[in-house]
Amino acid sequence: MSQTYRLASGGRIDRSKVLNFSFNGKTYQGYAGDTLAAALLANGVDIVGRSFKYSRPRGIIAAGTEEPNAILQIGSSEATQIPNVRATQQALYSGLVATSTNGWPNVNTDVMGILGKVGGSMMPPGFYYKTFMYPKSFWMTYEKYIRKAAGLGRAPLQNDPDSYDYMNQHCDVLIVGAGPAGLAAALAAARSGARVILADEQEEFGGTLLDTRETLDGKPAAEWVAAVVAELEALPDVTLLPRATVNGYHDHNFLTIHERLTDHLGDRAPIGQVRQRVHRVRANRVVLAAGAHERPLVYGNNDLPGNMLAGAVSTYVRRYGVAPGRKLVLSTNNDHAYRAALDWHDAGLQVVAIADARHNPRGSLVEEARAKGIRILTSSAVIESRGSKHVTGARVAAIDTQAHKVTSPGEWLDCDLVATSGGYSPVVHLASHLGGRPVWREDILGFVPGDAPQKRVCVGGINGVYPLADAIADGFEGGARAATEAGFKASVGNVPKTVARKEEATLALFQVPHDKGTARAPKQFVDQQNDVTAAAIELATREGFESVEHVKRYTALGFGTDQGKLGNINGLAIAARSLGIGIPQMGTTMFRPNYTPVTFGAVAGRHCGHLFEPVRFTALHAWHVKNGAEFEDVGQWKRPWYFPKAGEDIHAAVARECKAVRDSVGLLDASTLGKIDIQGPDAREFLNRIYTNAWTKLDVGKARYGLMCKEDGMVFDDGVTACVADNHFIMTTTTGGAARVLQWMELYLQTEWPELKVYFTSVTDHWATMTLSGPNSRKLLSELTDIDMDKEAFPFMTWKEGKVGGVPARVFRISFTGELSYEVNVQANYAMGVLEKIVEAGKKYNLTPYGTETMHVLRAEKGFIIVGQDTDGSMTADDLNMSWCVGRNKPYSWIGLRGMNREDVVRENRKQLVGLKPVDPNVWLPEGAQLVFDPKQPIPMDMVGHVTSSYASNSLGYSFAMGVVKGGLKRMGERVYSPQADGSVIEAEIVSSVFFDPKGERQNV
C-alpha cells in the first residue's frame, strides 16, 4: 500500500510527479513538493530514529527547522553521504536514499532500547561525572564504549565530489524570512529603489501563508504571496534567495546566508554546478522577520511517535496533503493551536478532543471548534501519552497550573496523534548573535529581541506580533523604515484585508503537572534530541546548578543540532520554577551562530585543494619544472629544493650540486628574495635606524650586508642592500620576510619618523635574480656581458650595470656560498631569455642548477646564518657571533640597540652560535637535536643548546653542524653531547662556525 496517510486532495504538492525514495532500505513513494518528512508520514512511517541515551523510539514532531528527532543520513553513494539532515527541511527528490542514524539492529526493534529502559534510570544528567572513575586505568576502556554510542550520522569516508563557493553581497536592506512580515518588508523596501536581498530557509517563499486557513483580500493567502514575489522579481536590484538560511549575524551588519542550490535535486550537484553557496552580506539595514516557533507542552511520554506540534499537524494537512494519523487529541494553552483541530476536522478526520489548559476559552477559533461539535475539555491537558512504538492513547486530566497539580484522575482517550501547543517562541537567535539579550514579555509568554546597537529592525512574529494583518502591517512599516534609514524614500504598502478574529491570551503552561511528581512520572522530555527530561532539569537545580548556563551544560539541554529550538524555553521555565524565580530572572543562554548547521565545505568555499592558498612562482619556474626540480615550500613560494638526475636521491643530487659549485659553477634562482627600492634624501638615515650596522659611508656602487632587529634586540631579518645612487638603495630581505619587513619599515616611517624623506616600493616581482656561483662564474659571465668583469674593476661587494645576454641587468658581486659569485638581476619579463643564454654558454663549464638544499649546505660551510633556521626570535647579533655587524656608536639609537642592552640580554653564558663537528665524521647530528654537557645525568637533563643546521659535507670530508650552546664562543674545542631517541649519544666538538675557507680566499679572486 502506498501513501496510506495521504489525503485525497489538497496541499501544494504535485500529484502528477511521483518520486521514489528509500528509507532504511525500503522503497516508498512521495510527490514533488514533499519534504522527506511529509513523504515518510504519508507512508505511515512512525519511527525515524532512536534516542541517543535511552534508545527510545522517536518520530517526526515538527515540520520545519526546529525538528529534533527526524535527523537522518542521506546519500546514495559513499562520497555523497550527508549526516544529520532534518527530514523536515529536505525536499524529496527521485532516488533519495535515507537511513536512520541510531538503532540496532534497526529502529523498529532496537536492542539498546531494552538497555535504555533498564539502565536509563541510572543515567541522570551528569552520571558520567559520578562514575567510570575506578579503577583509574579503565576510563579509556569505558570511553571506547561511550564513544561508540555517540553521534548521530556519519561522515563520508571518501572525498567530497561537490564544490562550494562564496558570493559577496552588499545591500541596503536584507530581509531575513519571507513569511507575511518579511514579504511585506521586502516589498516596502524594494519599491523605494533600495538594493534588497530577501532570504528564506524554505523551498518556497511564504512561510505560514503557505498553509494558513486565513484569506487575504478574500483570496487564499498563497495568491498574495505569488503576487508579491512576482513584483519583487521584476525589480532590478532585488535578490531573492529561497533555500537560503541566514545563519549568522556578525558585527557591523555582516551576515552569512547558506544557500542550498542543488540539495533539492539530489545528493550530488549536477556536473558544473555548485552544491551550496555562502552569501557574505554586508547590509546597511537588516530586517529580521524570522517569525516564531511553536513550543510543545512537556508531559509524560511526550516523545512517543505520534506526538506532534499542533502547527506541524496543520502544515502536513494543508501544505502536503498528509494526515499523520487518524484520531487526534489536541492539548493547548492558546487559541492559535485550534487551527490544527479545525484543519483536521475539515480534512474529514476525527478530532477526539481538545484539552485546553485555560479555564474558559472563548476566542473565535475556540467557538468555531465548538460550533463544529468538537469536544473541548477546559482546565485540562494531556498529562501523558501511551503506546509501545506509537501513540495509542492520551490521558487527559484537569490541572491546576498555579499549584502545578493534577486535580482529577482524568481519562484515557483513544487516539493515534497528540497535537501539542504551549504557545510561541519568537525566533530571536539572529537578533541575539551579537550578545544582545532578549527580553521576556509576559503578555506573549516569550522572549523578544532586546535593544541592540545594530542597524536592524524586527518585524512580525519575532516581535510577538502574531495576528496576520498586524504582522503584514508591521512588515510594511519595518521595511519602509529600514529603507528610509538607508537613505531611500519609502512608504508602506496596502495591508490586504483579513477576517477579524477575537484571540484570547495564552496561559502560562510549560511542563504539564503529573500526579506522580516530576521525578517519578513517565519521562517528560524537554529536549528530545539530547534526552533531557524535566526531572533532569530539576535534579540539576537541586545539585546546585542555578545559572541557566550551568543547567544547560549539566543536562546538555539545547546542545543538539536543533540547538534547543523546541526545548530551551520550556527548560528555562522548569528550572525557574524549580528555583522559585521568574523566567526573566533566569534569563536565556547565549545565542551563537549558526542558526542551523552549515556544511564545512560551504564555509570553506573555493579555498580548497589547488585554490587553498596562492602558490607563488618565479619567472623561471617553467625552466625548473622542465629540468626536474623538486620543490620546497618557502612561505607561499615554490622554490627549487634540488634538481635530481635520473636515479639520484636528495643526498646524491645535493652532493653533485655542491661539488659543481665548488669546482666550477652553479646556478640558483634567487628571485624570491624580497627586494625593496628605497629612494629619498633620508634613505641612508633610515637605513641607519633600521639596520644594526652603519650605512652612512656606503659609497655608490657598493653593497653591504645588514641585520635587522626588533626593539627587543632580537634578529628578525637580514640581507644585502646596495647603494645604486646617492639617494637610492636596493634592499634585499629573506624570502619569507619580504612583506613583513616592508610593512615594518612603513610602520616606522609613517608613525615614528614621518619627517624623513624616503619612499619604499617593493620590486620583488619586478626583478628576476639568477645567482652564478663558483670559480668559473666570472668566465661564464664574461662571455655574456659587456660589463668589465676584471677582478679589480668589479670587486667583491660591488655592483655594476650592463647587458647580460643582451638584456639590461644589474649584477651584484656578492656571495652566499663563499665562492666567487654574481647575482644577475634583470626585468622579469626577460629573465627566461637570459637564463637560456646563460645555460647555453654554461654547458662547457658544467653549469649546474642547484636548489635551496645545496645553498644551505654551501652557506653553512661558510658559517652564514639563515634567519628563521639558525635564529628563533630569541637571538641577538652577539649571540650569533655577529658583533661585527653592530654599530654601537651610531648617533641615532637604532631599533634594537636598547633592547639588546637589557639585563638578561647582556648576561654571560647566553646561548651562542657555534660550529659543531661530530667526533665521528660519518654521523649526522639531527637538526633540532638538543645538546648537553653531561650525557650521563638523570632526566630532566640540563640542556645547553641545540643543533640549528646540520649537513653531511663532501667539500669538508666530514659531517658538520651549526648550533647554539650556552657560552659556546668561550668553549671552543670542548665537547657537547646529543642523546638520541634510540639511546645513542652523538658527541661533537665545539668549533668555529666557519668550516670552509675561513680567510675568504675563494671569493677574493
Binding site: H250, D251, H252, N253, F254, R280, R282, P453, E711, D712, Q743, E746, L747, Q750, T751, E752, P754, S893, L897, R898, G899, R902, E903
Partner: protein, 111 residues
C-alpha cells in the same frame, strides 16, 4: 567582520583588507639609552588593553598601505571614529564616561 572607514580611501572597507597593529599613540622614547630596563619594557610590552574605548593602529594593507588610527569599543566592537596618523582622537574614554551614552559618531564619516 568589522567595517572600517579608511580615512585615506574615504570609504568603509571590510576588515579583511586591514591588519590590526595594536594600541596606537605609543611614542618611541626619544632617548632610548636613558630609559631604564623597566621603562623600555613598558614601552615594548605593556598596554592599556581596556574594556571599552581603545585607540588602535590599523594598516590598510590591501588598499592604500597607510597606517591610521581607530577608536573602537572593545566590548561592543563599535567603531567610533577613524583618524590619520598625527591627529588626535575626538572620542576618548574620559568623554565616554561623562557623556554616556555616546552616540556613535564618525563611523562612516571622515574625521
Amino acid at each position: 567582520m568589522l567595517h572600517i572607514f579608511c580615512p585615506h580611501c574615504g570609504e568603509l572597507r571590510s576588515e579583511e583588507e586591514f591588519h590590526a597593529s595594536g594600541q596606537s599613540h605609543i611614542a618611541r622614547p626619544l632617548d632610548p639609552a636613558s630609559c631604564s630596563d623597566q621603562e623600555w619594557g613598558e614601552y615594548m610590552f605593556f598596554r592599556d588593553n581596556p574594556r571599552g574605548i581603545h585607540h588602535e593602529l590599523w594598516d590598510h594593507v590591501a588598499g592604500c598601505r597607510q597606517y591610521f588610527n581607530v577608536t573602537r569599543d572593545t566590548v561592543t566592537y563599535e567603531i567610533l571614529e577613524t583618524y590619520k596618523i598625527g591627529e588626535k582622537p575626538q572620542v576618548t574614554a574620559a568623554d565616554k564616561q561623562e557623556a554616556a551614552p555616546v552616540i556613535a559618531k564618525g563611523q562612516g564619516e571622515k574625521v
